[in-house]
Every structure is written in structure tokens, then in C-alpha cells.
């Protein structure tokens, strides 16, 4: 009986000895790489793609970017007249149009904005929401999708004041779905199907609802500068009437972004006089080849309205 007990004790002792030796042995291995031990405890990370574009506007049209929660971005948009307007107008410097606007971030994914263009005295407002975000790592998704709805209200005099005019005739609506991908650190692309509804059109042959698309890209030159391009393509047959005696053309714009802390300066060359989707998509008559090029710039300044919670 006593022998059996002795054996039992010996067995238990050996068992514990082995365990403690084992744990010592493990410790030796772990000591060599405490860091990989620590990192194996960490949750796998998902990286959300940031800065697909530098600003909420690619050139004149919107990009998938929104203003962060509690931030207000004041945008001064400026377009000089056509470069080919001659020396008397100092190659367009005399005929500038301006849009003053502001975007406000309600959440990090949703922002709203208003603006007023001197061209056609147009007021505009929009709601924009990041629906899907490009990400990589533990969870991955290839694109960012932002949806946007805009409303425009012309404020200038009626073209035919003699006939009965309705306030609703001043309105234009547009809806866009912006798909963007940051291909790599230096290149981002955006594809945007869009529809524009105009409450009034000049002739019965013109469609009220127009479908079109735009293509944009941004190429990083350095940490603080980028070259951007955007092209609005309006399929034929939807708008047949001329505008001011000129045929409608597709808008093509080139931009150059320079970023300094809280400002983004955007320099533009474009054949569109207006600075919002309504003008870009359905009212562009300038022709690059003929020198109908508008030089312009945007100055974007961010203000923190609401401090982040600590």
C-alpha cells in the first residue's frame, strides 16, 4: 500500500516536473520573439483606403470623397473667360464667373453642400453619401461607391417673360453613382453613371431625362500635388437643340492640385463654363480645338466646426 502511494507521488512529481520544464522550454523560445508572440495576439487589421482623391471635387465634378464629420469646407470656384476671346478681354480675364459654396460633413460618410454660381445665377444643393469603401487586409473590397443627389435652381430672368412661367421650370435634378478605385498609391480612377432631369427643355425632341457618364482619373506627382482629368460623355440623340447657337459638346477638364496643410488649390483648364454637374453634363458648348478653353481655379479651405471627441 505504502509502495503504491510512493509510486503515485513519484509519478505526480515527475508529471509536474515535466510540465514546469516544458513551460520553461517554451519560455526560452518565446523570449527570442516576444514581438511575434504579441502580434499573434492582435486582431487581423483592415485597412480602409484613404485619399483616393485629394478633394471632394475631381476637377469640376464631384469625386467619391466626402468632408469628414464636423468639418466645413469653403470652396471658391473661379473660371475666367475663353482663352480665345482676344486681347481686348485679356484672353478671358475680364469675363470671370464664380461659384461660392460650402460642404459640411454630417458623418464621416455623409456630407451636404450648397453653392451659388454667378453663371445663370444658379443655386445648387446636394447630399452625398459614401455607401461602400475600398479596403484591404482582413476584409477587402475593391472599390469605393458614393451616391449623390443634386438640385439646381436658376435665379436669372425668364427668357420669355410674356408667357406663363412656373417656378418649377427653374429646376434641374441630377443623381450620380460614383465608382472609384485607388489602383495604387499613384493612380486613382473614377467612373460615374449619371442621370440629369431637366424640368423644362427647349423642344419636344429634347429629352427631359438625360443619361450620361463621366470618367475621371488622378495621378499623384508628389505627396502634395496631383494631376487630374475628367471627361463627361453624353450619348447622342438626347439633347438635339443648340445652346446659344452652338452645338453641345462633351466636357473635358484638366486639373492640377496643390495641397498645403488645410488648403487645396486646384488649377483648371476646361471647355465648360459652369462648375457643377448640371453645366458640365448638359450645357457645355466650348470646343478645345477652337480654343474655347476656360482657365480657372478652386481654393478649398477646411474649417473644424465641431471638435472630435477625445
Amino acid at each position: 500500500m505504502s509502495r503504491l502511494r510512493n509510486k503515485l507521488y513519484l509519478l505526480i512529481s515527475l508529471l509536474f516536473l515535466t510540465f514546469s520544464l516544458q513551460s520553461f522550454g517554451q519560455e526560452d523560445e518565446e523570449e527570442e520573439d516576444l514581438l511575434s508572440m504579441l502580434e499573434s495576439e492582435q486582431e487581423p487589421i483592415t485597412n480602409f483606403t484613404i485619399a483616393t482623391f485629394k478633394s471632394t471635387r475631381l476637377v469640376s465634378g464631384h469625386s467619391v470623397e466626402t468632408v469628414a464629420e464636423g468639418e466645413f469646407m469653403f470652396i471658391i470656384g473661379h473660371r475666367f473667360g475663353e482663352l480665345n476671346s482676344g486681347w481686348r478681354d485679356l484672353f478671358g480675364l475680364d469675363n470671370a464667373t464664380i461659384r461660392l459654396g460650402g460642404d459640411f460633413g454630417i458623418t464621416d460618410a455623409i456630407d451636404v453642400g450648397i453653392g451659388r454660381s454667378s453663371f445663370q445665377k444658379t443655386y445648387d444643393g446636394f447630399v452625398k453619401a459614401k455607401v461602400l469603401r475600398q479596403k484591404s487586409g482582413a476584409e477587402s473590397f475593391p472599390i469605393t461607391l458614393t451616391a449623390m443627389s443634386n438640385i439646381y435652381l436658376r435665379g436669372d430672368e425668364w427668357e420669355n417673360p410674356d408667357r406663363e412661367n412656373y417656378q418649377t421650370s427653374r429646376m434641374v435634378f441630377s443623381t450620380s453613382a460614383m465608382f472609384a478605385r485607388k489602383v495604387n498609391d499613384g493612380l486613382s480612377i473614377q467612373l460615374t453613371p449619371m442621370m440629369v432631369h431637366r424640368n423644362i427643355v427647349p423642344t419636344p425632341e429634347d429629352e427631359n431625362m438625360v443619361f450620361l457618364g463621366s470618367l475621371g482619373t488622378s495621378i499623384k506627382m508628389s505627396g502634395s500635388s496631383r494631376i487630374n482629368a475628367e471627361y463627361f460623355y453624353l450619348p447622342d440623340g438626347q439633347i438635339v437643340s443648340q445652346l446659344g447657337g452652338q452645338d453641345l459638346r462633351n466636357a473635358f477638364s484638366l486639373g492640377f492640385d496643390i495641397e498645403t496643410g488645410g488648403h487645396v488649390f486646384q488649377l483648371h483648364m476646361t471647355n465648360s463654363k459652369g462648375m457643377t454637374e448640371k453645366f458640365l453634363a448638359t450645357e457645355t458648348v466650348g470646343e478645345w480645338g477652337a480654343g474655347d478653353i476656360y482657365f480657372g481655379f478652386n481654393v478649398n479651405r477646411n474649417f473644424n466646426i465641431k471638435k472630435k471627441k477625445k
Binding site: 509536474f16 514546469s20 516576444l34 485597412n47 464629420e69 505627396g223 488645410g262
Partner: protein, 194 residues
């Protein structure tokens, strides 16, 4: 006589058993760790004071030999302004290429810390800090405060120079971002149980 000897042997066996058991348990409590440490950095420049906080810093200390490691995600630093955070990640620290910052070092004289009684210990820590893919030696003092055997607070401060880590600041914002950054560390360690 024989009976006494047997009793002695039995007691010995118990003692050995208890010793081994305790040894086994002790090895379990020799590591302290956290995954919710705080690291804050401060940049004081003529035009702007910038600070950012990271509340999910991981760290492990081997209380036996003084090995200490830290690991944090660059993208987890929170700034007051969203744009600053974007620029920090995209333009300066390139967190897509270098998502983590790590520190591997040694606490000098770690044996002087007694987990059993509350107290504060000021000890030298030195090691290698990796930020933005660049590694440099760092030496500082760290203050360890034992509240009870299951809770140890550690705080430290040191300064890093951006140029050492090849973080380039464009001329345009030279007045906004300091060339040297003060880093404050505040960690709450608990025993590592696995």
C-alpha cells in the same frame, strides 16, 4: 524509527510537489501585457500645435529578464482634424507601406521590481524603435508603478527626430510641423494568461 523516516520522506515528497507546483504557476505570471496602452505624440511648431492619440498600443514585458516590446498601428492615431490624420497617414508616415511601429528593448535591473508590494520604480529602458520602416536606438527612463500583483502602470517620455526616421516635411508646412516630436507613453499592464 522506521515510521518516523517514512513520515519524513512523505513530508519531503509533499514539499517537492508544492515546490514544483509553485514553480509551474510562477512561470505563468512572469509576463505582463496590455493591448489598450496609450501613446500620445506632440508637435509644437511656430504656427500650429499638433497632438495625436493612440489608445490601442500592445506591449509585453517579460518580468524575468526585462525584455519589453511594443507594437502599434500607425493608422490608429487619432487627430483633432480629419485632414491632419489623412496627411499623417498618406503623406508622412505612409501607413499603407509601413502599417506598424514597434519597439524592442530591455528594462535594466527589472529584478528590482517586486510585484508583491505596491511601489514605484524608475528604471532605464533602451532598445530599438522602428517607425516608417526605419530603426533607431532609443534610451529613456520608464516609471513602473505596482498597484497590486495584477496591475502595473508604466509611463515614459522621450523625443524622436523626424529626420532619423526619414519622415520628410515639405517646405510649405515647415512652420506647422516640428522637427522633433515628444512621445508620451502610458500603459496599464496585467498578467499575461494564455
Amino acid at each position: 524509527m522506521k515510521e518516523l523516516q517514512t513520515t519524513k520522506i512523505t513530508i519531503m515528497k509533499y514539499l517537492i510537489l508544492i515546490f514544483l507546483l509553485t514553480a509551474g504557476l510562477q512561470t505563468q505570471a512572469q509576463k505582463m501585457w496590455t493591448q489598450t496602452g496609450d501613446i500620445t505624440f506632440y508637435s509644437k511648431a511656430p504656427l500650429e500645435d499638433i497632438e495625436a492619440e493612440n489608445h490601442s498600443v500592445s506591449s509585453v514585458i517579460n518580468m524575468e529578464n526585462g525584455d519589453i516590446v511594443f507594437s502599434l498601428l500607425i493608422s490608429a492615431f487619432e487627430f483633432e482634424k480629419a485632414l491632419m490624420q489623412e496627411h499623417f497617414n498618406e503623406k508622412y508616415l505612409h501607413s499603407d507601406k509601413f502599417p506598424k511601429s514597434t519597439f524592442k528593448g530591455k528594462i535594466q535591473n527589472v529584478g528590482s521590481i517586486s510585484m508583491n508590494k505596491p511601489g514605484t520604480y524608475e528604471l532605464d529602458v533602451s532598445g530599438e524603435l522602428t517607425i516608417h520602416g526605419q530603426t533607431n536606438p532609443v534610451s529613456t527612463t520608464m516609471s513602473f508603478t505596482i498597484e497590486d500583483e495584477n496591475k502595473m502602470e508604466a509611463t515614459s517620455e522621450f523625443i524622436v527626430t523626424l529626420a532619423d526616421y526619414q519622415v520628410e516635411i515639405p517646405k510649405m508646412v515647415k512652420e506647422n510641423i516640428s522637427e522633433t516630436i515628444l512621445i508620451k507613453v502610458n500603459m496599464d499592464y496585467v498578467p499575461f494568461k494564455k
